[in-house]
């Protein structure tokens, strides 16, 4: 019951909030409820059994029994942290949008909470059709977030985001239906449950096609080069809360999808295609970093850095060993935290100056020292300095990749250097040197206020805790990842015979 509660509480909250009049009340209620939701999700962590790879908190009810579609949700070590990341980021986002969102406040919070349910649902769904429903449900509130509260070209960006994702999902839907039909012929009953899909014997040709169908949907979401161009537009136009949630959680649905669906379902196709994904991952790391380096706009720079960071995730997943997949999962959390924080920080300075042009800044460290410190810590996490969370993830991914393919790992290691280049260069141009164009006009530029510090401090703490005590987090995932890989290897072996 608790898993359903966690999943649907935000939806209920979102809908109920629509009926209140006072904006102020809505904000406070939203914050309190988001915190309550986070506390509730901690119960999942507390009761989680880290010794087993099987699903926990399972709930299963018939939904459309004629087609074997059921309301089937569950949780394992892979989705656990992603769920907590989602519930953790939501109160932060609510607090961060306190002043940034100044119109249609009720609708904004409703969209935010509905989005939260959709994301949580996608992480817990074990039934493929249920997953698809949540997957598509995410689009609507996100579309609204960008389209209503976004920047100047928000409509364009919202459509681009929507259509891109839709194109991918159509192929995924076809593949899901095909799998359901296969279940009917092979298992006797139609079923949409992933656990039943795992049992199927899928011929090679079909594996290739269906893997590509799934992979397209997930690759767009991740996004993997060359399907990434919607991301900079969406990020730049989205309001700060939208960017945070997009970078923080939404993109992870793509990599999560690979781990949950594309790889375990089609082991032979994975064997065949993994090298291409490793190449795309490595290329994405370098390409994203290089393009980020020459961006004049802060938000765009961070958006392209996401392409680079997610390239690491893809690389780690397709290394297909414990180190790589664990690192990938960790990097997903890291990216949610550090890039989320970066977007928050960019949003905070944008609120003050209404400019995101890096060239307009300079010498900010003297004017806003506190802001500079927070930005620096986040930068450290983003460039994976040891002691921060970023290092653990990047290190494990590179180690896993090195085991799988030495050359790919060596090339990916250049991303370490390039990451330092683009982040530190941006940091230097914004914070160091003499006061820039913008600052000479804004004498009263104020340092962070208490609310903003409250937004950032939890993220900063997490950056260090995750960097210094990674085992606290990794222990929970161990059994599930081992199980995932064992399963995959066995299937490859048995099918190759």
């Amino acid at each position: 019951m608790i898993l359903s509660l966690v999943t649907f509480l935000p939806l209920v909250v979102g809908l109920v909030l629509l009926f209140f009049k006072s904006d102020k009340f809505v904000k406070i209620a939203a914050l309190l409820l988001a915190v309550a939701e986070f506390v509730l999700s901690l119960a999942l962590l507390k009761n989680f059994d880290s010794t087993t790879a099987s699903l926990q908190f399972v709930e299963k009810y018939d939904w459309i029994p004629q087609f074997g579609i059921s309301y089937f949700i569950g949780l394992d070590g892979i989705s656990l942290w992603l769920i907590l990341l989602t519930t953790f980021l939501t109160p932060i986002i609510v607090l961060a949008s306190w002043n940034a969102i100044d119109k249609k406040i009720k609708a904004f919070h409703a969209a935010l909470f509905i989005l939260q349910t959709a994301m949580l649902g996608a992480f817990v769904a074990i039934d493929s059709v249920l997953f698809f429903v949540f997957w598509e449900l995410m689009l609507v509130p996100m579309f609204l977030l960008v389209g209503i509260w976004g920047g100047e070209k928000r409509i364009y960006a919202a459509y681009k985001f929507f259509i891109y994702t839709m194109v991918g999902s159509i192929f995924m839907l076809v593949a899901i239906i095909t799998l359901m039909a296969m279940a009917k012929t092979q298992l006797g009953v139609m079923s949409a449950s992933l656990l039943d899909f795992y049992k199927l014997q899928i011929p090679l040709q079909a594996q290739h096609l269906m893997f590509l169908a799934f992979a397209l949907a997930f690759a767009i979401k991740v996004p993997i080069f060359p399907l990434h161009t919607w991301l900079p537009d969406a990020h730049v136009q989205a309001p700060t809360p939208g960017s945070v949630i997009l970078a923080g959680v939404l993109l992870k649905l793509g990599t999560y999808g690979f781990i949950r669906f594309a790889i375990p379902l089609f082991p032979l196709a994975v064997e065949y295609f993994s090298i291409y994904f490793i190449i795309l991952g490595v290329f994405g790391i370098i390409y994203g970093a290089l393009v980020a380096m020459v961006q004049p706009d802060m938000k765009k720079l961070v958006a392209y850095s996401s392409v680079s960071h997610l390239g690491y995730c893809v690389l780690g997943i397709f290394a297909l060993n414990t180190e790589g997949v664990t690192g990938s999962l960790y990097q997903m959390l890291n990216h949610g935290i550090s890039t989320g924080a970066l977007f928050l920080l960019v949003g905070m300075i944008y609120e003050r100056t209404h400019s995101r042009e890096i060239a307009n800044y300079g010498g900010l460290a003297k004017v806003m020292p506190l802001f500079a410190i927070f930005f620096f810590i986040t930068t450290l996490s983003s460039i994976a300095v040891p002691g921060t969370n970023g290092f653990v993830g990047e290190f494990l991914i590179l180690l896993g990749a090195f085991k799988a393919n030495k050359i790919a790992a060596a090339l990916a290691a250049t991303g370490m250097v390039l990451g330092a280049v683009y982040m530190l260069w941006m940091y230097k141009r914004i914070f160091f040197g003499l006061p820039g164009k913008l600052l000479t006009g804004h004498h009263e530029l104020k340092d962070l206020n208490k609310r903003e510090v409250m937004v950032l401090v939890p993220l900063m703490i997490l950056i260090f805790v995750m960097g210094i005590f990674p085992n606290l987090f990794l222990d929970k995932t161990k059994a599930s990842i081992e199980g995932f890989l064992k399963n995959n290897n066995q299937m490859q072996v048995s099918l190759n015979k």
């Binding site: 891109y164 290089l290 290190f395 330092a420 085992n471």
Partner: protein, 639 residues
């Protein structure tokens, strides 16, 4: 006191100092005394703990190592790395140098930073550096070493760019970090290879294994080679040395601590730590020795004509680091470590002395505007003199013993060669020249100081560390007096003995006569070279001008540092930025994004042409129906 407590104290004391100065003190606070005392006390406590631990290792029945396991850091799949620390005979020396010299420099900084705007920030960074450096040398596995390795790089970045309102200084910090990162990427690949080969990265486990010498180009050779790339970054060797001279943008005590005494020697420490592995890969060793020797000569030659007092010392540091690598590269790990220690003393001394000069001259760094300072700053002058005597290799001074040991081993070791020895001696001669030039221009001769500058001797907090370091520069070498001299006075070589538990050198073969001869050669050459410099720069300034005119081209090339920075800029930085711009404006916008537009246009075009069929005329719709029906009929009937 338990070992764990001592190690924890040593590590955490600077960290707590960092937190106090970093978090509790308001960043606008200008109380240099309070923050300085906090930081210095933190460093001193750390030094006391380090000394206690060191003494534990000294006794007759002393344990070989002192270990402390704190917690499991990363444990994924086969990979394990603990937060565990080891004090053994190698790291024992390192922690003494780091905390000892570190404490002195903290003390000195109280005086040096007394006029600064943000002393609390400065001292917090300095403490953080100590913490990271201790992690580097104490970590019981390669990954923990890497943590400290990157951590000190970070502190170096922060301290080089400490006066960040100057864009050039901020840029120097960034350059240091990025160039170090290139090395770090190499290091981490080496770490991966070692893990793949041996399934562990713990030093203790690795030391237990036996390594078959790998004569060709195997994985182990690549592993050590990659680690050495990391070392060239951190320890400023060719081709990654370019960041160190720029790093002089930081406060001078930082240059003394980080960029002379401790951080830059991390590469040497790492190689000594893994000496058993490097010994098994002769190809890498040959590369290390060659790079070391070349760097020693190359950097020394750049040092000849620099005019910034700190830049001269910076190139000197690069050159001296080259000696250390030459030493470890020929299998003389102990000699390399020895030089590391003596260099830490005399180079820290000289940097601090230079800082004292700069402080006394009110931020003037150009040696052409100094001269005759010996009378105005007597203590600084006298202590600097000790440093000078040590670095040019005057017998009895510490630098003599350590440098000579390296040169002799280069000559005699089977892994060394006469050519490398020749380069070493040449470098020593150059060193004597530029250091004497520095002395002559700064302290001797006539004063060229601007009239408006009132030179003053530095306060006692600054001169006290100078005196202590000067004494160490003299006697620091006496722990390792080579056997050939030692047996005359029956002084044992304690250094060799101390390290022999963890370090195995390549056996050197050579007679005592040869050793005396090589020693004499380098001393005489250095002496002549020093005298030349003295003569030219104090007596015959016009002779110098003549030479400059005669060899103008060569002089230009050298004084412009062989245009290496410009070369890197043109061949790496600019093309990379151009490539990135091309990626963005062409690949991203013109190709990838255009392609998606094209797909959208196809769909939209198809839609808009089909739209014309639906024009509202019902009869036309009916016609479509009929036509469709007829078509179906035709298909059915003609089958």
């Amino acid at each position: 006191m338990t070992d764990k407590f001592l190690i924890a104290t040593m590590l955490l004391s600077p960290l707590i100092g960092f937190l106090i100065n970093g978090l509790l003190v308001n960043y606008n606070n200008k109380s240099y005394l309070r923050s300085g005392i906090v930081a210095t006390v933190a460093a001193a406590i750390s030094f006391l703990a380090a000394a206690t631990l060191f003494l534990k290792l000294l006794g007759v029945s002393a344990p070989e190592v002192v270990k402390a396991h704190f917690f499991e850091w990363i444990n994924v799949g086969q990979f394990k790395a603990n937060a565990a620390f080891v004090v053994d005979h190698i790291s024992g020396i390192m922690i003494l140098i780091i905390t000892g010299v570190g404490t002195l420099i903290h003390l000195y900084s109280i005086g040096y930073m007394s006029h600064d705007e943000k002393p609390a920030k400065y001292f917090s960074y300095l403490n953080l550096f100590l913490f990271n450096m201790l992690i580097l040398v104490l970590g019981d596995n390669l990954l923990l070493l890497f943590v400290g390795w990157e951590g000190v790089g970070l502190c170096s970045y922060l301290l080089i760019g400490f006066w960040f309102t100057d864009s050039e200084k901020a840029k120097a910090g960034m350059k240091a970090f990025v160039v170090n990162r290139i090395g770090d990427a190499g290091f981490i690949l080496g770490l991966f290879l070692i893990f793949i080969l041996f399934k562990t990265v713990e030093f203790e486990e690795l030391a237990k294994l036996t390594y078959a010498p790998e004569l060709g180009w195997g994985l182990l050779t690549f592993a050590t080679m990659f680690l050495f790339i990391g070392a060239t970054g951190k320890s400023a060797q060719i081709p990654l040395y370019v960041w160190l001279p720029d790093a002089m943008a930081g406060p001078t005590p930082v240059s003394a601590l980080i960029h002379a005494a401790t951080m830059v020697t991390a590469g040497v420490y790492m190689i000594v730590r893994l000496n058993f592995m490097f010994m098994a890969t002769p190809n890498t060793m040959m590369l290390i020795a060659t790079i070391g020797a070349l760097t020693a000569v190359f950097a020394a030659s750049i040092g000849l004509f620099q005019n910034d007092i700190k830049k001269i010392l910076a190139y000197s540091t690069v050159s001296q680091l080259g000696y250390m690598f030459l030493g470890v590269g020929v299998g003389a790990f102990k000699a390399g470590m020895f030089h590391l220690m003596t260099h830490a003393f005399f180079k820290a001394l000289m940097f601090l002395g230079a800082g004292s000069v700069i402080h006394g001259m009110h931020e003037e760094q150009d040696v052409r505007k100094m001269g005759g300072l010996s009378k105005k700053m007597p203590i600084t002058y006298l202590t600097f003199l000790f440093g000078w005597l040590a670095i040019i290799g005057t017998p009895l001074f510490s630098g003599f013993f350590s440098k000579d040991e390296i040169l002799w081993k280069t000559f005699a070791s089977p892994m060394g060669s006469k050519f490398l020895w020749f380069l070493g001696v040449l470098g020593a001669a150059l060193t004597a020249f530029y250091m004497t030039r520095l002395m002559a221009l700064t302290f001797w001769g006539k004063s060229r100081v601007d009239k408006s500058v009132h030179v003053h001797e530095s306060p006692i907090v600054m001169t006290l560390p100078l005196v202590i370091l000067a004494v160490l520069s003299l006697i620091g070498g006496w722990v390792g007096i080579p056997e050939v001299i030692g047996h005359i006075f029956s002084i044992p070589n304690g250094w060799e003995h101390w390290l022999s538990k963890q370090v195995v050198d390549a056996a050197a073969h050579g007679s005592h006569l040869e050793e005396w001869l090589t020693m004499a050669t380098s001393v005489i050459l250095a002496g002549c070279s020093a005298y030349c410099a003295y003569f030219i720069y104090t007596k015959k300034a016009d002779a110098l001008e003549k030479l400059k005119n005669q060899y103008g081209k060569i002089y230009n090339i050298i004084s412009n540092k062989y245009y290496i920075d410009e070369l890197y800029q043109k061949t790496i930085v600019v093309p990379l930025v151009l490539l990135s711009k091309w990626f963005w404006s062409f690949v991203d916008v013109k190709i990838v994004d255009r392609t998606t537009y094209l797909l959208a246009d196809i769909v939209r075009g198809a839609g808009s042409s089909l739209r014309l069929m639906v024009n509202g005329n019902v009869q036309q719709y009916a016609l479509y129906i009929v036509a469709g029906m007829v078509a179906v009929l035709v298909v059915i009937l003609t089958r």
